[in-house]
Structures are given as C-alpha cells and as structure tokens.
Amino acid sequence: MVENRPFLNFLTHLVLILGIATVVFPVYLAFIASTRGPTEFMSGLVPLTPGDHFLDNYGTLLGAGSTRAGTLPFLSMLGNSLIMAVLVAVGKIAISIISAFAIVYFRFPGRVIAFWLIFMTLMLPIEVRILPTYKVIADLGMLNSYSGLVIPVIASATATFLFRQFFLTIPEEMMEAARVDGAGPMKFFWDILLPLSRTNIAALFIIMFIFGWNQYLWPLLITTEPQYYTVVMGIKRLAAVLDGDTQWNLVMTGVILAALPPVLVIIFMQRLFVKGLVETEK
C-alpha cells in the first residue's frame, strides 16, 4: 500500500528506540556494575561507564565463588544449570511426544480423563502445592540429587499440548497411507511422525531449556548441598547476604552470568524460538 507519512515513520522508530533503550538499560547498568570495584557504589551515584574490574569480578565468581555467600564457583553452578536445563528439556519432550501420540492416534477408554488429568494438574504451579510436594520428594529420598531436580518438573502440559496441536494438523491421509503401506503404530511414529516433528521438537527444546535453566523455587527447596546449586538460585544467595553490605559488583556479575546463556540461545535461535512460543498457544 502506498503510504507516505514521514512524521509517523519517524515516530515509529522513535518509540521503538526508546522502548529498546528502556528494555536494555537495566542490563546495561548491571554490566557496568559487573566491571566495577566493590567500593565504587558508595558515592550515591552509580557510574554509567565500564570500569576496570571486569576480569577481577568474573574471575572471582567463576573460579572461586563468593566466600561470604558460601556459594560454589559459578562455573560449577553453571554446569548444574546446564545439566538440569538439558535434562528437563529432553525429558519433557520425550514423555510429552509419546503422550500426545497416544492421545491423538488412539482411541481407548480413559483417553479424555488422561488428557484432562495431564492438562489440569500440570497447570498447577509448584508454588501452590509446595509443602506436600516437598514432602513427597523428601520421602522418596530425592533431596539433593539431580533426579530430584529434574524428574518432578519433567511432566509437561505445554509440550503435550503443542505436540497434540501439531499432530492434529498433520493430514489424516499421512497415517492412512502409512497404514496401507504396512506400518504399525510404532513404525509410523519413528518413520513418519518423529521426522515430521523435527522443527517443533527443536523449538520446544529452546523453550524448555529456558524453563529448566530459570527454575528458582524448586532447586532452592530441594538442594541444601552446594554441589547441587544452580546458578539462578546462586545469585539470590549472593544477594541475600546482608543487604547493606551487598557486594553489588559481584551480584551483578552473577546476574549477567546467569542470564547470558539462555539469552544467547534466544538470540541465535530466534526464528525457531518465536515459532515454538507462538504456536504452542495458537
């Protein structure tokens, strides 16, 4: 459509640039703080340009951890987060894709009940049933373990739903042709359905990876041994050291370290991520 409104175009870009500035600013500030020394915040005004403690701060956190907060080196917490995020993502995708396969491609007694059970209960955030869930984990002896970190959050309504929606859009004839071609259910699943779901699996992996990485309350509750700490709860422990005495430079270094991996994942896989996110709900 031919439309020439220079002022409106200018306004559009202005709004976007201001918006992005607002969105980016807190992180910029955090980055600045992470390059400064511990005493540079006392003056009352936060500096707006990078300092020269970049290597100091990141080196300290990654290598030794903060002695005062009693955390491990960030390197090992980042490792734990990576393990948790990958296991959660893979696990969620694996068990959800087979559930969705059962729900869409079979008709059996209890199908609707199973679907609603998955859908309803998995929507219940951990926060609302925190005590009894904690108790179950404790009774099963899963405190302070990777299985405790991963297995209880591995069921997924979102992923099951995405796969269900996707399977429903696959033409009916695809499965009928496969059946005429002599493929049984599991053969159809491996030969046809799984390859067709590749993009969805990848997109979902990104979303679930971020979900797993950003888990907060769950690791906070079930890990008391530092060797299982994840980085997101680690930064909170770092910040929780008496407020007045907070080492802002280190806390912000931690925030940057904790946020960087998932942010990079999104930026480099933006197309897949957007597809995954928007289609999950559509």
Binding site: L16, I103, I235, M252
Partner: protein, 294 residues
C-alpha cells in the same frame, strides 16, 4: 475431543505411551494436591503431634484474616498492574514493528531476549536500579523532589515489583501481538484506506477489534503469570514487604507454610489458589480449543 478419523487399534500400547507422563503427574502433582486438600481440613496442635479434622475452619479463619484479605487486594493490584503495563507497552511496540519494513528483525531481536532472563535475575536487576542508596532511579527522583524508598513505602515497593515483572513479560506479549497483527489480512486495511480511514482510525476501528482474541488470550496468560510465576521476583526483591504490601498469594502460601509452618491454613490457601488456576486453565483451554476446531 479430537482424534484422527482413523486410529490405530491397540489395547495396551496407548497406556504404555501415556504411562511416564501419568506416573509423574500422579506422584508429583495429583498426590501432593490431594494432600493439600486433606491438610486444609485439619488443624495441628501446637506441638505438631495430633491432627484434628476441623471441616472448613481453616477456610473460615482465612476469610476473616485481614492479612489474607490484604494479600488478595495486593495480588489483584499487582496482577492488573503487570497485565496492563506489559500488554500496553507490547502492543505499542508490536504496532510499531509491524509498521517498519526493513528493520523488523533487528527490532524484534532486541525486544525478545528478556523472555530468557530468569525472573529472579530480573528482580535483582530492577532492585539494583531502584536501590534507595545506590540506585540510579531514586537518584533522579530525588532531584525531582520525590524521596523514593521501597523499603518503607508500600507504593514504591509495589511499583518496583510491577515493573520488574512486566519488563520480563513484554517480550512474550510482543511476539503474540506481532503474530496477531500479521494475521490481519492486508485487504482489510487496504479496503479501510480506500474508505478514507487514516492510520490511527484504521488501527482502532479495524485492527484492534480483530486483535481482540489475542488480547483476551494474553490477558488470561498475563494474569496467570502475575499470580503464579512471579514468586522469584518477589522473593529476590521485597520478600513481601514492607509490612505485607507486596505479599501476593503465592508468596504468602510459601511464607506461611514453609517458613511459618502453619500447615492447615497454608494448605487452605493452596487449595484456593488451585481453584483459581483451574478456573484460569479452563478459560484458556476453551480459547485454544476454539481456535483448533477448524
């Protein structure tokens, strides 16, 4: 509920396929939820030795508890604040991005990444900016004659958590609004343009009404997000204070149950929250199902 018109015939295979998901659901979701419901009808004696079945006494006490009522109001304010702020901004950004042609991808990339930042980290970022002694915003506000301090001022604390929560949610809403805007057929806006409607009028009379399903869906999602997923933000910043002013329902459940060890009342709060989740889920599901039935 939908299946394929032709299905595989197998008596046991579907149950095997569903088993992992169902077992985890039963052990870690249904069982604890059932426990919470049971627990909500019990009261423990002060020594934690004996449980008495008290019917709805815990619920009655909750309804009469000014702290709980306060928490309800706080949650409402917080949820509405987060929803309006983040949806308003994202709609604005989405409309702008939809207008530009060449730099769409560039702007989108710069707007979507906060989605990946952990809520706890987002809380800390804004906590740092709003810190009364060293934060940059109080410093600026001071010059404008406002003495900012979220540690003593309830309003300031609420603004802090709303901004921190909304900041993270903008990218999510933005992506959905962009998708919604791009699904509005060009022929409609072109027809409106031929009918003599300018860009602003076109937006309010054609595009915005067509976006209403997206808007409604996002409103539900945002309320759900604000009510349940913002626990880390509260915990990393205000911890419910000052004097309960940001003590939203999920945080209160945690604080009363896990920290205060008030089992019965905390369980009753859990049950109420579950009911809210179920209600929101049904609303959400109806929306999705409607879109699927083509």
């Amino acid at each position: 509920m939908q299946t394929k018109r032709t299905v595989f015939h197998s008596r046991i295979l579907p149950y095997f396929l569903l088993a992992p998901q169902l077992i985890i659901t039963l052990i870690f979701f249904v069982w604890p939820a059932a426990q919470a419901i049971w627990q909500s009808f019990l009261r423990q004696d002060p020594f934690g030795l004996k449980d008495t079945f008290v019917w709805f006494a815990n619920y009655k006490r909750l309804i009469g508890d000014p702290d709980y009522l306060n928490s309800l109001i706080v949650t409402l304010t917080f949820s509405v604040g987060v929803t309006v702020l983040s949806m308003g901004l994202s709609l604005l950004f989405a409309v702008c991005v939809n207008r530009v042609i060449r730099s769409q991808r560039f702007y989108t990339t710069l707007l979507v990444w906060p989605y990946a930042v952990a809520p706890a980290a987002s809380g800390l970022l804004w906590w740092f900016m709003f810190n009364p002694s060293i934060g940059i915003i109080p410093y600026i506000l001071h010059f404008l004659g406002y003495d900012w301090n979220y540690r003593v001022n309830a309003g300031d604390a609420m603004v802090l958590v709303i901004i921190a929560a909304a900041w993270k949610q903008v990218s999510y809403n933005f992506l959905f609004f962009v998708a919604g805007l791009q699904s509005v057929p060009h022929s409609l806006t072109e027809a409106a343009a031929i009918d003599g409607a300018g860009p602003v009028k076109r937006f309010w009379t054609i595009i915005f009404p067509l976006l209403s399903p997206t808007t409604f869906f996002l409103a539900v999602i945002n309320i759900t997000y604000a009510m349940f997923d913002t626990f880390p933000i509260i915990d990393a910043t205000t911890e419910g204070g000052p004097s309960q002013s940001t003590n939203v329902l999920v945080y209160k459940v945690y604080a009363d149950g896990f920290v205060g060890l008030n089992l019965g009342p905390s369980a009753a709060q859990s049950v109420i929250l579950m009911l809210i989740v179920v209600a929101l889920t049904i609303v959400q599901f109806r929306w999705i199902e409607r879109k699927v039935q083509y």
